[in-house]
């Protein structure tokens, strides 16, 4: 047995204890170092993170600016309504939740479909409407049952409303829920901070073009939140600023009259105030109801709009391109005068056709117009006169003159989606075609250019801009829809476009010749029937654009199906001596311009100049008209 040595034992114990004590001190020092690291060296970083935790910026959405017509009539406004919204991430099984909701609130199949569509396009944590515009009774019913539906809530939201429904839909456009393309536009403008919390964005028309004016300034509430995200108290508030109002050059009543004049026909009308370039009416028929899009369109309506053969979503006034037909002739005549290829008195003989390079170009009037001077060529719309004139002028002379009037170029109107159209020239053909043999311009191709056929293809707004410029003696404006933007905070206005684009140098006596001929059209020519008994002097020109090439056959309306019928055109301005309005009308597959398009123009002019309300859609003249 070993001897125990208590002294030694205690000494050993104390050594161990000292060692442990050393470890204690070392550990505490380590802890202290860690605290110094966190609380002194990294303090600023953690301070910021604590503040980020604590403070949340809650966006307050601004009211969207209003859209008013030139007389202050509201065309797009906001209204507050209750919506029933579901946050999918918190609602559990969606079908069960919606079925449950349907027992207390009227939820139709189309609401479900629309919700599903929104769901596909959205992120899970977004709150999505299942029903909009709840009645007070429905709100009360839901609140009584709210506890049964986690993730479902009633929200008061501002909705966009277009009180004129289908009227001016292509002009106003609509707003819809923000998608990736919209986010791209927002990023382009570096406007992300201002769009925090915003759910809607202009999709087409003025709503898109002036989105950043209409949107307004998003306000913010700085709130202190707890770990559960609940607001504990408000720290500060920056109020939102309502978006700017747009006042249009458009006359909403005139717009309605013009639309009603079309009846159920397809087409476009653009009316411009010649002295300013302000658009008075911009019609594309048929229209659509922009209100359908605001809360997310249901698939049924969407399919109907997209698949309709009438293509209601296409803005024909800006996007559609059509041969101008005989409405091209006054410009041809003016060009001839300006470059000295014709005098007003110079005559040709029209036997009913014109032969060039072995090809026979027919005149619409069987047997021809006989002896024709410039006045008669316009008033009676003689084709042969212009076949010859085209050949004499040559394609590039024509193109160079027409370019000044804006043919074949985007007008720059303040709604997106404008087409360029085609102003044919040698250069255009070289650029447009790929094969070398197609790139050459044939002299024979020039002949039908003179009567507004061939490669000619322009948008209705180009036609309107051209006639407005002619009416305004060559002083040209960029057509525009917005007259001025009103800053809702200061009340100050920013006018849009007061200066003309350019002035086309034209000899006054030449202009006078053309204007007199256009007056003659409505007095004794192709427009005379439509303008019989008018209480003002108007100038006009009919036109018919071929859709279907007849290869020398005589065109008779009854023989071709409706969709292949010619487009009817009419350009006009009035009063002739001091034009207040200039317009271009196009009726798709309307047949002769004099029959289908001129009566529409008459109704629009009657309303604008005299305040006459038409009783019904403009009648299509059924009498066989020889010519055009």
């Amino acid at each position: 047995m070993e001897f125990r040595n208590p002294e030694q034992e205690i000494e050993g114990f104390q050594r161990r204890l000292t060692f442990a004590g050393g470890l204690v001190l070392l550990s505490f020092f380590l802890l202290f170092a860690r605290l110094v690291w966190l609380q002194v060296i990294q303090h600023d970083y953690y301070q910021t993170r604590a503040e980020d935790n604590r403070i949340s910026l809650v966006p307050i959405l601004p009211n969207r600016g209003l859209i008013l017509d030139r007389n202050g009539i509201v065309m797009a406004r906001n209204y507050s309504a209750y919506t029933l919204e579901i946050t999918p991430s918190r609602a559990g099984d969606l079908e069960t939740a919606i079925d449950g909701l349907a027992q207390i609130i009227d939820i139709q199949q189309k609401d479900r479909k629309r919700f599903r569509k929104l769901l596909e396009e959205s992120k899970n944590f977004e709150s999505l409407p299942i029903r909009t515009r709840l009645s007070d009774e429905e709100v009360a019913k839901f609140i009584a049952h709210r506890y049964r539906f986690p993730g479902v809530d009633i929200k008061a939201r501002l909705f966009r409303q277009y009180p004129y429904n289908e009227s001016a839909s292509h002009l106003l456009g609509y707003i819809g829920r923000i998608n990736d393309r919209d986010i791209g536009r927002i990023e382009e403008k570096d406007a992300e901070p201002n769009y925090r919390g915003t759910e809607h964005f202009g999709k087409t028309g003025l709503e898109l073009k002036y989105e950043f004016d209409l949107h307004g300034q998003t306000g913010f509430e700085k709130v202190e939140i707890d770990a559960g995200g609940r607001a504990v108290r408000m720290l500060s508030r920056i109020p939102p600023v309502t978006g700017n109002n747009l006042t249009l050059t458009v006359d909403a009543k005139l717009q309605e009259v013009a639309e009603q004049a079309f009846g159920d026909r397809r087409g476009a009308l653009v009316a411009i105030e010649p002295a300013t370039g302000g658009i008075l009416a911009l019609v594309s028929m048929p229209g659509y109801d922009p209100n359908l899009f605001v809360d997310g369109i249901d698939p049924q309506n969407w399919d109907a709009l997209n698949n309709s053969p009438d293509k209601p979503m296409v803005n024909r006034a800006l996007n559609g391109t059509y041969p101008p037909g005989s409405t091209f002739k006054p410009y041809m005549a003016l060009a001839a005068l300006e470059i000295g290829k014709r005098t007003p008195q110079q005559t040709i003989f029209d036997p009913g056709s014109y032969t060039f390079g072995g090809h026979v170009f027919r005149d619409d009037k069987k047997g021809g117009h006989g002896t024709v001077d410039m006045y008669k060529s316009i008033v009676q719309s003689c084709d042969t006169y212009y076949y010859m004139l085209s050949n004499d002028m040559g394609i590039d002379n024509i193109a160079n003159f027409m370019r000044k009037f804006g043919f074949g170029q985007r007008t720059g109107v303040d709604v997106e989606g404008e087409s360029e159209g085609v102003l044919p020239s040698q250069e255009w053909k070289r650029k447009h075609f790929k094969k070398a043999e197609q790139q050459r311009w044939f002299a024979g191709e020039t002949i039908s250019i003179g009567i507004g056929q061939g490669y000619n293809s322009y948008t209705p707004i180009q036609l309107a801009q051209a006639i407005a410029t002619l009416a305004n003696d060559g002083v040209m404006f960029r057509p525009h829809i917005v007259k001025f933007i009103t800053d809702t905070r200061t009340g100050s206005t920013i006018p849009i476009e007061t200066q003309p684009l350019r002035t086309i140098p034209l000899k006054p006596q030449n202009l006078e010749v053309i204007k007199q001929a256009l007056i003659g059209v409505n007095k004794e020519g192709t427009g005379a029937r439509a303008f019989a008994g008018a209480e003002y002097v108007s100038a006009g020109k009919t036109g018919t654009a071929q859709v279907y090439s007849l290869k020398g056959e005589k065109y008779t309306e009854g023989h071709v199906t409706e969709r292949l019928r010619d487009h009817a055109l009419f350009i006009a301005f009035a009063p002739a001596d001091h034009p207040k309005i200039a317009l271009a009308v196009l009726v798709e597959n309307g047949g002769f311009g004099a029959q289908a398009a001129a009566p529409i123009a008459r109704q629009v002019l009657d309303y604008y100049l005299l305040g006459k309300q038409p009783k019904a859609a403009a009648p299509a003249d059924s009498t066989e008209l020889e010519e055009d």
């Binding site: 047995m1 125990r4 034992e9 205690i10 050993g12 114990f13 104390q14 161990r16 204890l17 442990a20 004590g21 204690v24 001190l25 550990s27 505490f28 380590l30 802890l31 202290f32 860690r34 605290l35 110094v36 966190l38 609380q39 002194v40 990294q42 303090h43 970083y45 953690y46 301070q47 993170r49 604590a50 503040e51 935790n53 604590r54 202190e224 939140i225 707890d226 770990a227 559960g228 504990v232």
Partner: protein, 362 residues
């Protein structure tokens, strides 16, 4: 008996330095608990009074009596742990509680004191003949209840009981060779231990390595407590002014994570003060251990003192993000009666050992 005499009798077994440190800590605790959870201050005051009563009672029990209790208390503790494993109540996924009908007890808590008591008694009994065999037996005595507690699972308590027993064995003089050997094999065993851990235990360790990997899930606690500490700075945000604490970003802010509240509101100065008081308390405990007359009292006092340290270090280490999250409260400060009572039982034992050192020598 005069009031004065009564007071003297009441205060007789109390060790003034230990009492002073404990009182400072309790005062600090009231300050922090009232900020973290004001409505719990009353309950905590009652917990404190209970704990002080337990301390006072323990302080007058002589070490000889404690030796009598060591084996029965330990055996009872083990039996209760077995009973827990068989009939215990499950709460939050762990089987820790035993329902005795009139009260619910947590037998693992008893082990925090019963374990060092038992091992100190065992070494005292074999004082004359300490060979490797005795250490092996001691290790078995240690590992049985630790395994039962770890199985519940309650990693925090298992760790503390393991530490308490290990300190006794270490202070009893287990040779350095064996200690180093154990350390090496512990490292070698790590993968095996890893495979035996519960998923949530593994994730706690992984979270420590990279809390930002899952900022709203498992990493949330540690990220938020680190932010609280760091944003406190040197001077702190002031009592009741900690945004992390008051806006409930700190989880379990009145219990296991109370150190984050303290750090946020009182800053580095407040933390350093706490560390100093802990260090003084531990220092006093070590002095008592160093001067203890018998092996039993030396080992018991040393182990209890080091347990205080372990409590404090593991909790502060976990809250400040240098140790994995285990459910250990901040000693003397966290809200709750159970651990406070155990801690003051330990203080009472230390006081008794100190008070009775002369009597034994006589």
């Amino acid at each position: 008996m005069s009031m004065r005499a009564l007071w003297q009798r009441l205060a007789a077994p109390i060790d003034p330095p230990l009492m002073m440190m404990a009182a400072l800590l309790l005062g600090y605790a009231l300050l922090v608990v009232s900020s973290a959870s004001f409505e719990r201050v009353g309950a905590q005051l009652i917990n404190m009074l209970t704990a002080l009563l337990v301390m006072r009672l323990a302080a007058q029990v002589s070490p000889q009596k404690m030796m009598y209790f060591a084996l029965p208390v330990f055996v009872a503790g083990v039996l209760l742990l077995v009973a827990v494993a068989l009939f215990g109540d499950v709460s939050k996924g762990a089987r820790r509680w035993l329902n005795l009908g009139f009260m619910r007890i947590q037998p693992s808590e008893i082990m925090k004191i019963a374990m060092p008591l038992m091992l100190a008694w065992y070494f005292q009994r074999h004082e004359t003949y300490l060979r490797l065999r005795e250490y092996v037996v001691a290790a078995l005595i240690l590992l049985l209840p630790v395994a039962l507690i770890a199985k519940q699972p309650d990693l925090g308590t298992a760790l503390l009981v393991l530490a308490a027993g290990f300190y006794v064995i270490f202070l009893a003089g287990l040779s350095w060779k064996v200690l180093i050997g154990l350390a090496v094999s512990a490292v070698a065993m790590a993968p095996l231990v890893w495979s035996m851990l519960h998923d949530y235990q593994r994730s706690r360790i992984l979270t420590l390595l990279d809390p930002e990997a899952d900022p709203l899930g498992k990493g949330f606690h540690i990220i938020q407590s680190t932010i609280a500490i760091g944003s406190g700075g040197i001077l702190g945000k002031g009592w009741g002014q900690g945004t992390q604490a008051q806006l409930e970003f700190i989880p379990e802010r009145h219990t296991d994570f109370i150190f984050a509240v303290l750090s946020e509101e009182f800053g580095l100065i407040g933390c350093t003060l706490l560390l100093i008081v802990y260090a003084l308390l531990i220092g006093r405990g070590m002095m008592i251990a160093a001067n203890a007359p018998t092996l039993f009292t030396r080992l018991l006092a040393g182990s209890i003192t080091l347990i205080f340290f372990t409590y404090a270090f593991v909790n502060m280490g976990m809250v400040s993000g240098i140790l994995p999250v285990v459910g250990i409260p901040l000693p003397f400060i966290s809200y709750g009666g159970t651990s406070l009572t155990t801690l003051f039982l330990g203080i009472g034992i230390l006081m008794s050992i100190h008070k009775h050192r002369m009597l034994v020598q006589k």
